[in-house]
Amino acid sequence: MADNPTPEHQSTAESGLVEEPPQGPAGWPAGRWGNLLQWLIEYRAFVLLGLALTYAVLFVPFFATERNITQMTTQFSIDGIISIGLTVLMIAWGIDLGVGATLALAGVVFALSQDLGVPVAALLGILAGAGVGLVNGFVVTKMRVNFFIATLSTMVAVKGLTFIISDETTIYGHAEGFGWMGSAKLGIFEFPALAFFAIGIITHWIMTQTSLGTYWYAIGGNSDASHRAGLNVNLIFALSFVVAGLCSGIAGVLLASRAVSANPGVGRDTALFAISATVIGGTSLFGGVGNVLGAVAGVMFLGVVRNSLNLLGVSAYWQWVIQGVILVSVVVSDVYMNRRRRTA
C-alpha cells in the first residue's frame, strides 16, 4: 500500500468547502488595531502603572518623597504578596475569597507563639496560612466542592477560629525582634517590599521555568487534557491553594510584625485588593492565562492609586467607589478577551 498515490480529497472539494487560511491567528480582530488592542489588554498593568506613576509624580504633592515611597511600597507589598499567591491559584482556575481571614489567623498564630522565639513563631504563622490552603485544596479536590463555596466557608471558620484563639483582643508583640521584619530597611525599601519583589521574582521563575509552573497553566487551560496527559490534576490544583495560603501566611506575619501586634479583625478588604490587582495584572478569571510580573505591576498600580488618593485627601468611601470601578472595567475586558479566546 506504500505506493498509494497522494490521497485526493474529493469529498470536501465536491461539497464546496473553502480551504481555511494556513495560519489564521484565530479569534482576534484583524489588522494593526487588533494587535494594538491585544497588546494593550495583555500588558494593561504596566501601561496603567506608567500612567498612574506619571500623574502622581507630576501632580500629587509629597508623592515623590522618600518617606512616602517607603510607606507606600510597604503598604502595597503586604497585600501584594497575597496577589502573587492568588495569581498562581487563578492561573490554575481557582480562587480564594478567604485570603483576608487567613492573613489575620497567621498574624495571631505568630503573636501567640512569639515566646518560642520570633523565627519559630514566624514559621508557625506561615504554616498556619499554608494549612488553611491545604484544607481548601482538600475540600475542593477531594470533596468536590465548588471553590467559591469552599473558600467562603473556610473563611468564616478561620475567622471564628482566629477570634477564639486570640480571645477577641489584639495581641502585642513583646518578644525581642518581633517588629524586625516589618521595619528593617535597605535603601528606601523596607523588608516587606523587598520580600514582595523577591517572592514575585521567585514565583515568576517557578511559573515559567519549572514543570510545576507549566502544570498550573495546563490544568487551568484544559484540565481534561491535562488528565489525559497523565497529570495528577487534583494534586496540582490542591497545591495552588496551598501556595495562596502560604502567601497569605507570609503577609499575615509581616503585617503583625510591622504593627508590632496582631489584630484578629484585620484583612477585611484584603481579598478585594488582591483579586483586583491580580486581574489588572492580566490574570484571567477563567483560568490558564496570567503572569506573575503583571500581578506585581497590578499591585503597584493599585498601590500608587490608593496612595495618591490619600495624599489628595479623597475620602475612603470615594476610594472604594474608584477601586470598584477599576475592578469592574478590568473584569469586563477579561470577559471580552475570554469570549474571543473561546471562540477561537
Binding site: M1, H9, P22, P25, S211, Y217, A225, S226, G230, V289
Partner: protein, 263 residues
Amino acid sequence: MESNYIVEMKGISKRFGSVQALNQVDLELREGEILGLVGDNAAGKSTLMKILSGAHVADSGQVLINGEEVSIRDPRDARACGIEMIYQDLALCNNLDVARNIFLGREYTRGLPFLSILDKKKMYAESAELLARLRINISSPRLKVERMSGGQRQMVAAAKAIAFDARILLMDEPTAALGVREANTLLRLIRDLRDSGHSVVLITQRVPDILAIGDRVMVLKGGRRQGVLNVSEVGLDDVVELIVRGRAGAESEEDALEYLSFG
C-alpha cells in the same frame, strides 16, 4: 495470522445507562497497518477506541496486546502499552505553546526532584525536529496553540501522540474539521506513520479517506461489528452498503444513495 495482531479486542461490551453502546465487539489490528473504523453516528466507534485508550472501561471483554492480555483502566495504562489516542477534541492546552503541549507530563527536566527545572532548550529543539520530521508546517514550537488553525492543531496533537514512540495510534475523526489541503497533508502524515511501523486505527466518516490510505476497514453499526473488508478488494459502494444496511441489509436504497453522495 493470529501472531501478527498487535491489538486484539474480544467481546467488548459497554452500556451507558439504557443505551448499549457496544455489543460483543471484536477488533483486530495488525502490526503496521491502517485500519479504518467506520459507521454511522452512534455506531460505537469512539466508544470502542476510548476503551482501548483507557478513557472508558469496558463492562466486559478482553484486550490483548501482542497476544498478551492487558488491563487498561486509565490513560496511563494505555500509554504504558504503547497506545496513544488523538481525541476528536484534540486534548490540547490552547494556552500553552507547541513544545509544552507535546511534552506535557513528560517534560525533560534537570535539577531538584521536587522542583524540576524544564530543559526548555532540549524540548524546543526536539519539538522543532519532530515537526520537521513529520513535515508539519508550523513555524516555531514556541507558538501558542490558541493562535493556530484547525489543521495545525491537529498536527500538534499527532506530533504529541507519536513523540514518545507510541506503536499504536488511535485517531478519532482527524480530518473532520479540516479543509481540503490540510486534510490531505494529515492523511499523508498518517500514511508516513504507518510506513515507519506504526499501527493506526483511523475513525472516520469519510470513507474515501480510508480507501485512499487504509489497508482494511471495519464497519460498526448499532454497537455491533458488521464486517472487515480489505481495502484493495472493495470499492466505496461495498463499504457504504455495509455501513447503511449492515449484514442484514435492512434499510432502504435511499439511505445508501444519501451516504454515497455525502461521501
